[in-house]
Assembly symmetry: C2
Homo-oligomer: 357 residues x 2
């Protein structure tokens, strides 16, 4: 494990993206989105994925110079076609459209097709905060998850992020996969040779397993809840809603047809749409009540929950977004730790493209 400064990783990412042909403004925003994952501790969605994006570009599945555009709209809705661009570029574009609509009519809702992986969901939802808006960000993803009672992988980890502004308190920012555990946590256990808790994974026959290699060996991640008795039908329904809002509304691929992130797997034949799909929402807080009033009640909400009496062995109730924000300030100061294989991968990537890591 080595630490790298935000500026170092940021510069490398920007240089790599311009090297593959991204316009400067696109490279800038994509870098910021990608690195926000590293800062906030979602290491699996940060710079570790850069070579994955580049391989998709090499396969022709990512367009480095997309013409991202609104293809249909009403006063409060829009559909955006990402022209196969980086989701890291397409998503902020679409979220801005949602925010503009909210300025005009109170709320804005944008469904996106023909995009690619968009980094962490939370970045896009949080764009709404500085406008005193609630931000919502959803995306579908490569099928790795089996619905309750299904042996097949039909859904992605399909995250939900909701960001809500407060006044003196930091904002409430939920950002979560609709599975019991995200794939990144499996990778950590794999490296350590440890088993998973129950309810995270099933094997390729559809039986519960605690093998951290379960998904790699043809099994699947499980929806939040783990099994029927513990409410996995709810996690499945949430993942399904994310899929439908992101892709059936926009004309992207849904369910098992969502193209895989890894370049060595080809998309299925007979696709049902274009690329992967996202969904964004922005709601102006003062479309409901004066913003100051709302935000001071949010302060009260946050303080009441944060100071609640705790269960044995725990010292405080966590407000969604607290751990990520705290880590962000630590990593901005002390640097971002990268695992040895990631350092090697980035070094080799840089060498191939003449960019020094």
């Amino acid at each position: 494990m080595q630490n790298f400064s935000y500026d170092h990783l940021s510069r490398f990412t920007y240089d790599m993206l311009t090297q593959i042909g991204c316009p400067e403004s696109d490279a800038k925003i994509a870098t910021e989105v990608l690195l926000s994952a590293d800062l906030r501790g979602v290491d699996s969605h940060g710079v570790a994925r850069l070579s994955g994006y580049v391989r998709l570009w090499e396969k022709g599945r990512i367009n480095a110079q997309p013409k991202v555009r609104v293809t249909y709209e009403t006063p409060s809705t829009a559909v955006v076609d990402g022209d196969s661009g980086l989701g890291l570029v397409v998503a902020p574009f679409a979220m801005k459209v949602a925010i503009e609509k909210a300025k005009n009519v109170g709320t804005g809702w944008v469904s996106v097709r023909n995009s690619n992986h968009y980094g962490i969901a939370g970045y896009h939802a949080m764009m709404a905060l500085e406008q005193d808006m609630i931000g919502i960000s959803l995306t579908n993803a490569s099928p790795l998850v089996s619905p309750t009672f299904s042996k097949e992988r039909l859904l992605g980890t399909n995250p939900i992020s909701v960001a809500i502004p407060a006044n003196e308190e930091p904002p409430f920012v939920a950002d979560m996969a609709t599975t019991t555990a995200a794939n990144g946590k499996l990778e950590i256990l794999q490296r350590k040779g440890l088993d998973t808790p129950t309810g995270w994974v099933q094997d390729k026959s559809g039986n519960p397993t605690t093998s951290a290699n379960g998904v790699k060996d043809g099994g699947a991640l499980l929806p939040l809840g783990g099994d029927r008795e513990h409410g996995s039908h709810k996690g499945y329904a949430l993942g399904a809603i994310v899929d439908i809002f992101s892709a059936v509304l926009s004309g992207a691929n849904y369910g098992p047809w969502v193209p895989p992130f890894v370049a060595f797997l080809d998309p299925l034949p007979n696709l049902v749409g274009e690329g992967i799909g996202h969904f964004f929402g922005a709601m102006r807080v003062d479309a409901f009540r004066p913003a100051d009033e709302f935000k001071s009640h949010m302060d009260n909400w946050i303080r009441r929950f944060r100071t609640a009496e705790t269960t044995p062995g725990n010292d405080k109730v966590i407000i969604p977004g607290d751990p990520e924000r705290e880590l962000e300030s630590v990593r901005m100061k002390d640097g971002i730790p990268l695992l040895e294989p990631v350092v090697k991968d980035l070094t080799q990537l840089g060498e191939r493209f003449g960019v020094k890591f």
Copy 2:
């Protein structure tokens, strides 16, 4: 257990509601909402609750003749004041406002304060379906749930319902508490003298328990996920989002201040808002793409999932809404089964008000 016809229970409910002073049109819609829970198998939210509503009316906490009104609006949003009316009346009013807004600007979003328990979330979401809209329905509720690491009860079972139209297939209708299990399931286990699975309940010291009496004895229901390792911070975040959308946006009570449903418990002093809160959304499908196109892709989505290969011992993957719809047609034909204590309670209720059960 005795079976009663839908018409019998419907007539009794309507008569009781007019007897306490509800206008005829309010009694009619409230009866339809309440009974839809019995038809769809959410027995804890149906006619078994009628005497609970009446007791709240007797305490002066439910207004039988409310002036429900929009107090603030933008083209895509509104705030509704329920004037302490039955949620069973206030919620359909507010959902209609959301639908009208969606007709005009693509989507409509309504947050409600000063209301009471609104029956099953799904009824209201499903109102959008016949307009070719996606319906969303959320509500907060009496605090029975402890966030991850909290010993205190700070949230209700805060359900999420999302209804999505299809073409030849029946609609997709998710309707779920954001807890591992709803309170009604605990009651069933209590009657049978059985323990709960892990992850449903904690005791009053904040330790995990499998006692079905755990909540009654001062403990709490747990957020979907059950514990941190199984993702309870996600269920907690979902319940929190429902609470904030329903109450902090509208000016209703939130968190531990939500007034209890049972009339023998008084609301807390120093309330932070008025009554309980709901949140509704309606999105016109053709505000994104032609409705026929959307609905035929929904058919394809539903068929692909329903016919997926299953895990051992299961014969099909269930689409959210399937079990409730199937039960509804059985119960419409064969009647609605009521437990002996419920029959007795309704009989006595009728006697008190001169309405024959």
